[in-house]
Every structure is written in structure tokens, then in C-alpha cells.
Amino acid sequence: MTKVQTLDRVVIRFAGDSGDGMQLTGDRFTAEAATFGNDISTLPNFPAEIRAPQGTLPGVSSFQLHFANYDIVTPGDRPDVLVAMNPAALKANIGDLAHGGLVIVDTADFTKRNLTKVGYDENPLENDSLQNYQVVTLDLTGMTIGAVEQFGLGRKDSSRAKNMFALGLLSWLYSREDGGTERFLAEKFAKKPAIRDANIAAYKAGYAFGETTEVFAHRYEVSPATMPPGRYRQISGNAATAYGLITGAQKAGLKLFLGTYPITPASDVLHELSKRKNFGVYTFQAEDEIAAVGAALGASFAGALGVTSTSGPGMALKAETIGLALMTELPLVVVDVQRAGPSTGMPTKTEQADLLQVIHGRNGESPVPVVAAASPADCFDTAVEAVRIAVKYRTPVIMLSDGYLGNGAEPWRIPTIASIPPIDPGFATGTNAVDGSGKQVFQPYKRDPETLARPWAVPGTVGLEHRIGGIEKAVDTGNVSYDPANHELMVRTRQAKVDGIVRDIPDLVVDDPSGEAKVLVVGWGSTYGPITAAARRVRATDRRIAQIHLRHLNPMPANLGDILKRYDTVIVPEMNLGQLTMLLRAKFLVDAQCFSRVRGLPISPSELAGELTEAIDGLATEK
């Protein structure tokens, strides 16, 4: 089945009460990993006492496993994943966890009494103390009891199978085969058929639970790095997106109105924003994606910052209304947290195959600016940028993220609010033209000569009453017009407005330490991490490679064409069949080639490094 391709290594720690069977669980998982062909290294950790009092810190038992796709020599320093079966296990182990690590907690024992027992004043699952981790809280015990009900065990025996539920869940999470564990359990409990069946059922239920409920994105990765000085925190991409939107709205002095409909993996943007009403944030869970974007557009018409968030299938549904937004030339931010498609696809898996959809997926000539985030923390800057373009140019802007970014987390150098430039909504306040009879009038489609943006005249502004809509507009007046020449002019003007955003986009700086690379690797979105890692590996072998990464997909930076033409080979790693590649080829007539992987997983740096190496060596041979 599934191989854990994109992870070089993972460290997992199972922790619980002595009676919780953590060692067994760890052993089994180790066995599964070994069977699977991983290199492994383990660190069991028993309580000093044979039977410490239940639910206490000394009673905690744990098992740590490091497994990897290359030679490893230690059981790992900081676990990436912690499974905590009770408050004591959490308390005892959380300090070791790497920032951004995943914590899976069984909530069954998180009672006031048990919390007090280990010195928690507040329930750590209910305050923000685990903010720097990815926390998944589940009633493992309750679900286990439910799953094994049929075997007629008592409550206690039933609940003891919870470690197998957890194991099943983890096995699913790391795409392990379950045959081995089932056989093991069948053997071990051969003489107690009820217990045997209960354990197998719990294991299967845990596995099924992972698969059914979309609780997890797939895997996560902790990328170590040497970091510039500053204040840091851990942040996930979806939270960073939410914060960026709030920041953009505040910098523009606008209310933020999110109209959205839940969908994996974008829902957390809603969840995060709905907690932030104190920033003048309105969150509206609409009846569907069309209503969601419609309400957001209505809010923009009314002078707020309209935002909508979704993933691929929802994006498809929003297309018509985004067309209306671009025709009415109102600010709107559309966040697409991409997932594996087509259709429902694999909702919890990542992909970047919506690029052409967001660029071309509307009727008629409908140019829309598109920006993409490169990493979880970069979602913040990208969101602020999306707001800036939307407000300045009066246009819908699509921000691309993906499941890997949205759910993934990384250290973030926290910006100072004061350092972020303000955004001027520049609301229209008065008339802007003189009509035939010399009267001062307001023309809703009279454009700013530089940006080509039209005035944003908000209801409530006296004297600027006007009507907009989706029918073609006459130049300046915005009246309905079927005039051919006017239509042509408006089509080209809308295109020119979007193209003109290039003036605000900084030139790309090529990362080419030697300055002599012949091969250029071009990325966009969440491939930034794997590409960078691959480039490092390539350079570590004394080869030369140049790298650029695009935040702006439409329009693209002004110097991109020149850069592309400077290299003998242009390689574009993408988690799709070559979508940016096709845009680059069409625009610049450069024979860019896609390094394409469409597996619902981030690209593997080592695979990519191999490909880049071959390209470099191939060129050298040719000459």
C-alpha cells in the first residue's frame, strides 16, 4: 500500500498510563515499520515502579520510535508525533515535542479530577497552551467502547482495547498494512476470543475512523533550518492565511466579511476567523459555495473586504460569481486551499492542480490576479498581498494554498504590525466628471489613469448613487452597453488592468550562488520546500543549479521571461501534470519541462534532486 515517500524520518512517541499498553502499541508499530522496510530505532521508557498509581506522572509509560527511509542511528531527539492517552502522559511528554508537532490526545480521562492530579489548573486542551502544536483531540476510549460493544466485554476490558484503536489510527495515518497486527493479535489472544476480537475490531475501527472522518491531513514534516534573527512562533498555513486576511483588512481600515462553506482542507480558515470577531471579522457559513462568494461580494459592494475560502470543488462552483466580481470590479479575496482532484478526489491529500482552473475557469475573457503561498508561514504575506491587490485594483484576487500548507506548520518570524504598509481603500467621496450639460456627475467606471481601477463608491455616500452588474458596461458611465467597440475596449481594459499589476511586483532574484548554472528550476506554491531541499542536495554535490519561485502567477513578474531565456534547461516541479509549465511555454516560448508528481503528497526532494542532477550532467555531456 502507501509508502511514506515524502518523509525522510518521523519520530513518534506513544505515552499513556502503565496499564494502557503503550509498549505493546510501540512494539507493534515498530514491527509494522520494520516489515515495511524502514530503518528503525526505538526507545522504550517504563515507569520506575512496577505499578505506579493510575493517572499520575510517575505512572506514565512511553515508547518512542524513529523510523526513516535512510540509515538512522538514534531514536530521535524530539518526537514529531505524540500520542497521549491521558493528562499525565500529555504533561510528561509535551515538552519534548518539536514545534509544530502533532499531538493526538484521548480526551476520555481529561476530567477536572485527573487534571488536578497532575497539576493542571486549566484543561490544556481548552486554552491556548498547545497552540504551537497540531492537536487532535478524540474520545479514543469512547469510540473503542462503541466499536467493541458487540463482544460483550465489560466496560473496563472494552476500554483497554483503546491502544489498538490508537494503533489502527496511526497505522492509517502512515498507510501501514494491517494484516500483521491482526495476525499478531489473533495469536496473542487466541485463547480469549472476545478479547481477541475486541482488539482486532478496535484496531480496525481506529483505521476506519482515520479514513472516514477527514480528521487528518496526511503527513507532516518538520523542516530544520538555520533561521534569521527575530521573534518566532509556530504557525499553520490556514491560521497564517486567516491572520494575513485580518491584517490586510485592518491595514485597509475595512471590516472583514468571510462568506464560506466548510470543505476539507480549507475549513480551518473559517474556524480561525470565526474566533476573531474582535477584529471586526464577520464569518458567514453560507448554504453553499455560491452563496458564500455571493455574500462576500455583497459585503464588498457595501464597503467591507469580502473574502471567501474553499477548496477545488467549491472553487468550481464559485466561478460564475467571480466573473460577476470582475465585471463589477469590486475587491474580493478568494482563497483556494487546493486538494487532490479531480472531482471529490482525495480530500485530505494535497495537490496543486487548480492553477489553470483559477486562471482560466470562467466564461468569457475574465482575467483575475492569482498569488500563491510557498510555505505555511508565507500564507500570511501572500494573504496580505492578495488584500492589497484586491483593494488597490478593485478586482477579485485568488490566493492559492494547498492541503500541505494549510494543515502544515512551521516556525514563523513574527512581523511587527507597524512594519506592514497601510492599504488605502481610497473610497470615492465625490463626483469625478462633468456631463454634456456641464453638470458634475459621478461615473462609476471612470478609471484611475495609472492603475485603471474604477472608483469604489460605497452605499451611503451621497451623490454617488449608481448601478453595477454583470452586463457589459459602457466606458466611464457604466451604463449597460451592447456596443461592439465599447465591448472590445472594456475586454482589453480589464486585461490591461490585471496585466498592469506587474508594476507592483518586485523583479525576481535568481538564487544561483555560483552565477554559472545552466539549469533553472522554477517553482510555485508549496513545492518551495522540496525544491529548496533538492537544490541544496544538488549543490552539495558541487553541481550548479539556479532557482526561482513565483508568488505571482498572474500577472507574472516582469523579468521572468528574460530569466527563463538565460538557461539551457528549465525544469518546473509541480504536483500536477504541468500547469505552470504550460503557461510559461505559451507566454515565453521556452521549452520548460515539468517534473510532474501527482500523488497527493509533496514532491520528494531526493527524487527531484536526482532529476536535477541528471539534467545538469546531461548538459555537461552534450557539450
Binding site: 504551537n132 474582535n278 464577520y282 453560507a286 452563496a291 455571493g294 469580502g306 460564475e320 448613487e465 454583470g470
Partner: protein, 364 residues
């Protein structure tokens, strides 16, 4: 820094008399219908019922007293949806079926705007049916005027979700097969707090119903029977002219349900428990039901809604079926935001605190 884009309302009289418009600034100077007439030529077919509805609306607006600039009209697509072009206020002629959704965004962020939605039977009940029922259950503060001509006008005469069974149109040459919606029943089933019906031919009634809608806080749905002389002429013929008195059952809160030129007909609860039409002369006076639009339970209004024919129209109640108090979604949403904002000191500091989170480490 203010996050409020509302224009200053200083100098305006306190608030309009109509509860649905509470919070919308009043005009300092009295307005007249011309003020609500835009410079665009009205482009409906001669004889179209839309003219009368537009005229009634423009005639009524000055009475509300709110400023033109705080008046917003959102429409979908259809003949009727050209309406906003003709009113000199803020307006959006949006896309097919989505006006209630768009209006939800307007209403939620701006308590100082009076929001009207103009839509047709296809726009509201076919493609836009879901947005309509959800707006009503949420009770977003807006008045929806549904121009029901029982046909698709703009696309040249296909049947609509309110066309009678057997209707022969371009798309149903052998007659339509689907049971039409009764828009009032549908609204009541969707938890609507205000539902009314009126007719293009009765300017006074139109105006009264629009006023009642404006006086209701939350979503007000007005179904307006509207004649399309081009593609569905005479759909409401029996409800007009001399026969009107015998065909229209006026609903007036607190008054007996009596109708007919000489009040010769009335509504009673029949032996089965269902409402029926009876001859006034043949029933005891206290059997005649009294209209009550304010009942919490929508069942009575629903019963009344079933007195409308679903085929060719011979009889229909008009007036306000239901008008009950229920918090408006947008009022509640703003309340949540305002509460959350209370005690926030400097928003920029608050934002910095949010970004910082609880667990910061420093790299030197």
C-alpha cells in the same frame, strides 16, 4: 483606525418609522418620486406589469424618508431584475438567482442601509430557490419582491416553477408536467417570518404591502402577481377587473376573512378541520375566521396559503399572511462582533498580540 465605512449620519433625524429600516439615516429634505427615478429609459414591453410595480415603489420610497444613498437594490437576472437601473439609488443587477445571497453580505455588514431584493419566479424559485429559503430561515433584514409572472420572460417564454401543470411553452410543447410551487407555502415551510402577496394591478394594495414589509425586521417576502403580456398574458386575469372582488381574499390582521363584492363569501374551518370557503349567509358569524398574521405558529398562515389555486387562477388570498417577530440574522451577527470588540484597546496592539500568540521564541 475605524473599521466602519458607514457614512456619518449626523444631522439626520433619528430613525425611520419603519422597523425594517431602523438605523438607516433619514433624508434631511423631503424626497419625491422623481428623486428615486434614474436617468435610464425604462425598457420593459408595453403593458408589462413591471411598470406598475416600479411606479408604486418609486411613489412609496419618499414616504420611508430614508436617503437615496442608503437605499440598495439587488436583483438577479430576468426582465424584472432590470428594476435597479430605474431607481436612482445604489444597485446591483447581479447574476441569475443569487440576489438574496449577495444582499445577505450587504445587510450583514451595513445596518445603515435599506436593502431590497428584486427577483422573478425563475430567478427566485428555480435557480435561486436555495438562497431564497436560506435567507428566509436566517431572517436577514431585507425585503424581497418576487415578481411572479409564472413564466420566463427574458428568455422568451419557457415555463417556470410557478406555471400551472399542462402549460404549453417553448420548452414544453406537450404541456408541462411539474406541480408548481406556491411561493407563500414554500416560504412558510422555510421558516419565513414575513410573507405577503399582492398584485400589480392594485397600486394601493401594492403600496400597503410594501409598507408592511418595510416595517418588519428580518426577511420580508412579497410575492407580486405580475402580468407578462408578451409571454403569459392574462395569467391573473380572473384576479383583476370586475371579477377581482370575488377572486381575491383580502387578508387584514384582526379582521374577519370575508370577501366578494358584497362580502358574500368567507373562510371557515370545515368539518375535516381544513379551511374552506363558505357562503357568508350560510354560516354563523362566529364561525368566520379572523385573520391573525402574528401567530408564532406558521400553520394558520400555511392553511391560508393553500386557498390559492395551483392551476389556472380563480382565487387567491392577498395581503400579509404572516408577520412575526424573530431576531434578524444580521442584527445578531453584528451584536456578536460588537460584543467581541468591546474592551479591545488599540486594534493594532490587539493584532500584534494575536500574531505573537502564546509561545514565542527569539532567535538572536
Amino acid at each position: 483606525m475605524s473599521t466602519d465605512t458607514t457614512q456619518p449620519t449626523t444631522g439626520h433625524p433619528a430613525s425611520p418609522a419603519y422597523r425594517g429600516l431602523a438605523g438607516v439615516p433619514l433624508s434631511l429634505e423631503p424626497l419625491n418620486r422623481k428623486d428615486f427615478t434614474s436617468d435610464q429609459e425604462v425598457r420593459w414591453c408595453p403593458g408589462c406589469g413591471d411598470y406598475a410595480i416600479l411606479a408604486a415603489f418609486q411613489g412609496l420610497m419618499p414616504e420611508f424618508g430614508i436617503t437615496r444613498e442608503n437605499t440598495v437594490i439587488i436583483s438577479g437576472i430576468g426582465c424584472s431584475s432590470r428594476f435597479p437601473y430605474y431607481v436612482d439609488s445604489y444597485g446591483m443587477h447581479s447574476i441569475h438567482g443569487r440576489a438574496p445571497a449577495i444582499a445577505t453580505g450587504v445587510a450583514t455588514t451595513r445596518p445603515d442601509l435599506g436593502v431590497w431584493v428584486v427577483t422573478g419566479d425563475g430567478d427566485a424559485l428555480s435557480i435561486g430557490g436555495n438562497h431564497l429559503i436560506h435567507a428566509m430561515r436566517r431572517n436577514v433584514n431585507m425585503t424581497i419582491m418576487l415578481f411572479n409572472n409564472r413564466i420566463y420572460g427574458l428568455t422568451k417564454g419557457q415555463y417556470s416553477p410557478t406555471s400551472e401543470i399542462g402549460k404549453v411553452t417553448k420548452s414544453t410543447p406537450l404541456g408541462s408536467l411539474d406541480q408548481p410551487f406556491n411561493p407563500v407555502s414554500l416560504a412558510l415551510g422555510a421558516e419565513a417570518s414575513f410573507v405577503a402577496r399582492t398584485i400589480d394591478s392594485d397600486r394601493k394594495h401594492l403600496t400597503e404591502v410594501m409598507k408592511a414589509a418595510a416595517n418588519h425586521r428580518g426577511t420580508s417576502l412579497i410575492e407580486i402577481y405580475q402580468n407578462c403580456p408578451i409571454f403569459n398574458d392574462g395569467a391573473f386575469e380572473e384576479l383583476k377587473g370586475p371579477s377581482a372582488a370575488d377572486a381575491l381574499i383580502p387578508l387584514v390582521h384582526g379582521e374577519k376573512l370575508v370577501f366578494g363584492r358584497d362580502g358574500q363569501q368567507c373562510i371557515v374551518r370545515g368539518p375535516s378541520g381544513s379551511l374552506t370557503v363558505a357562503a357568508t349567509a350560510e354560516v354563523d358569524e362566529d364561525q368566520i375566521l379572523v385573520h391573525d398574521a402574528h401567530r408564532a405558529d406558521p400553520a394558520f398562515a400555511f392553511e391560508l396559503s393553500r386557498l390559492t389555486d395551483s392551476g389556472v387562477m380563480h382565487q387567491s388570498p392577498i395581503g400579509v399572511f404572516r408577520d412575526v417577530e424573530r431576531p434578524a440574522y444580521d442584527d445578531l451577527a453584528r451584536e456578536q462582533v460588537e460584543l467581541a470588540q468591546q474592551g479591545t484597546d488599540d486594534p493594532e496592539d490587539a493584532l500584534q498580540t494575536l500574531l505573537d500568540g502564546k509561545d514565542v521564541w527569539v532567535v538572536a
